[in-house]
């Protein structure tokens, strides 16, 4: 898996490409950790090229959720494919994280 990283004005945009499973979740974990250490607390996860997400992949975002919120930050998902969205929905994550509809602006959320 590869992660496209982009620093925007008010947030960090991360776009994982391919499968986010038990193996690649470590990479995503380090990536988020790095940005947190640099003082960033607003994240946009761009799901345009995310093909599959496993429970371990979800776990990565969840594990940082508390700290992001404690800092007053946010994590926002966008462009999730139907199957990835299903996983989010099944777990009930749609109730605790923001998932932006396709075509909507990201910046106003932060």
């Amino acid at each position: 898996m590869e992660i496209k990283q982009e620093k925007q004005n008010s947030y960090i945009s991360l776009a994982p490409i391919g499968d986010l499973d038990a193996n690649s979740s470590l990479e995503m974990d380090e990536c988020i950790q790095d940005w947190l250490e640099k003082g960033e607390s607003n994240f946009h996860i761009d799901g345009q090229e995310l093909k599959y997400i496993s429970s371990a992949g979800i776990g990565v975002f969840i594990s940082h959720l508390d700290e992001i919120r404690a800092r007053g930050g946010k994590i926002i998902f966008s462009h999730l494919s139907a199957s990835v969205f299903d996983v989010f929905k099944l777990l009930g994550l749609t109730e605790i994280v923001t998932i932006v509809k396709e075509g909507a602006e990201i910046a106003p959320h932060f």
Binding site: A22, G59, S63, H64, L91, G92, L93, E95, I96
Partner: protein, 701 residues
Amino acid sequence: MNARILKGILLLTSISLAILLVRLHYNFSIGAGFSWGSGGSLQIILYQSTFAAFLLATGIYIRQVFTRIERLDVITMLWRLFIIGMVGITLMLAMLMLKRVMVQNFNASSMGILAPIFFIGGIYALIIFFLSAIFIFRRFILYQKNRRKLFSWNLFQVFLLIALVMTVKQFMLILVGNNASSLATLDTVITVIYAALLLLLSTSLSWTAYLNFNQKLKALGLFTLVIVVSVTYLMALGQLPEELFVSGLPNPVMKGYLEMKFISYIAAFTLSYSVVSILVLFFNLPTSSVFELKSSEIANFNKINQAIQGNLDFDEILHTLLDASMLSANAQAGWIMVHEGEESRIHSRKGISEPEINSILAADDVLNIIQADKLMYQVKNLKRHKNLKKIDTRYKALVGLPILVKNEGFGLLFVMNEVSNSFEDVTLGSLTSFAEQAGTAIENAGLIKNAINLERYQEQLKIAKEVQSQLLPSRLPESDRVQFAVISETADEVGGDYFDILQENEDIFRIAIGDVSGKGTTAAFYMAEVKGIFHALSLTGVSPRAFVNYANQAIAKCFQKGFFFTLTYLEMDLKKKKLEMIRAGHCPAFFYQKASDSICIHREGTLGLGLVRDASFEKYVKKAETISFEPGDFMVLYTDGIIEARNSADEEYGYDRFQAVLESNKEVTPKKLGAEIMKSVTNFAGQDIHDDFTVLIIKFL
């Protein structure tokens, strides 16, 4: 016939014939012979034939002794030959001295029968020695035998037999019609052919090549001694008649023992083979060290090769490499370095001190040069090298080369010599192949170590799997109103799927199915904790909603951040024919209602456990769903492994295929339904299912 009996008979015959000879001699000495035939010619034939028979019997006996003997090395056999000769000479000397004493103190005639005993005794000792020599040398000649060698040896034996027949001179004379000159011609022809054969056999010296320097030196000495003994015998033979016999014997008997073909043939063979051996051994002495070196090189090579089979550890391989390299390069000093991260450590050294090594390494960039190029580095003369000339060491030539494992530098090998320019190209070639072999051996040793570790690890996992399988119910509750069936597989040895069915009483059942996020060992440990939580909470009899709430609190405390647990929990009352179900992030349940003949998917649900860990979780928890059931209805609970199973085209098994199996197996027993589901998934995905999966079927009767 038994070889020992044969040997005994031969020895007895030989001794009897010797005694007969003594008797005949005695007759001659007291003038009792020569009365038969003209001038006693019959008695002479008798005597000569007896002598020939005696030689034959003794010869065959000794041949038996030395061909049937166990495998002996050259030195031992030569040593035995020398001992045999010395014993004979000692006996002869003793007899001579005894005779002199007797002649001085008494008179000549007082010897009586002793004189022929001494004489025949002397001859006996002599022929035993020479025959032993022949049959011992036979073993040398036939060393690494081939057809040619065997043929010349057999021919040689034939000539010995001819010589034996010719010993009976009187008979031969009659045979050629009493013509002395034609007998002499026959003699000469046979002797010339024999001499040629001797030369041929004397070149069969392949055994010399296999002796080392010390053995060659010993063999050289022993052959010299054999020659000395032979010459002593021959001289004694010339002296014997005069010395031992009191009164002279008539010419025909005594004349020319030396000319007797057989004795001169065996003596000539012994002497010629010994002389040629001495010459060959002598000239081979200087090359033997090279041969030894090569053979020890081969031995070392073999040892490293053995290491490749994986019988040695790193240290042993490196020590062998150093020994072998120093030996084959004829080096006085050498050492091996092993890379450890950025540093290189001296592993072992010989003939050189650590400060010396360090000063060499510090003065020149040897290490980096070899490491960078992965090639051999040679300094032909340290004293002329710009960086190394100031180093205080007695060594002048240096060669260093890398030890590569999988083409990566593992270490370095160095050898040094006191003489400049002393490493030949051949030597450098050997060093390179030694280092390569060692590299392969090290790689294999590593592989084997890894394989052992892996095996141990797998063994541990097997135990873990066994322990984990005991965490899941081994027997499902049985009732006449409900039937259960479960299929469960894990992707790794251990997994994160959990299910349990607890029966509170005849009517009430508590059922859980869940999945720890992630796979493998971590998931398996958390799954064990989940079991504890489920069992503890079941005892409290709380409502499903409260159950989920408490479970989340417990999981929040014991799960590492980022791990969570999805759960479907249901409480079933068979009497009321109702069940309460709550889904916490887990896959939706399939429920088949017989009355409407429809399958309904229950998607209503809450957050997975552990995703939100504070009190705010409670507000996300919805009320449990209540479902009424009738006989013929069934409920299917499962984990996502089955839905996410993929085929070779990377397609998901999915809900639709799953539901289709249920649709077409509505009337079967839960066990049969489980088997059908399993069949369908395996057919779809092939053998390789990447996730843990569990299916739990509850059928109401």
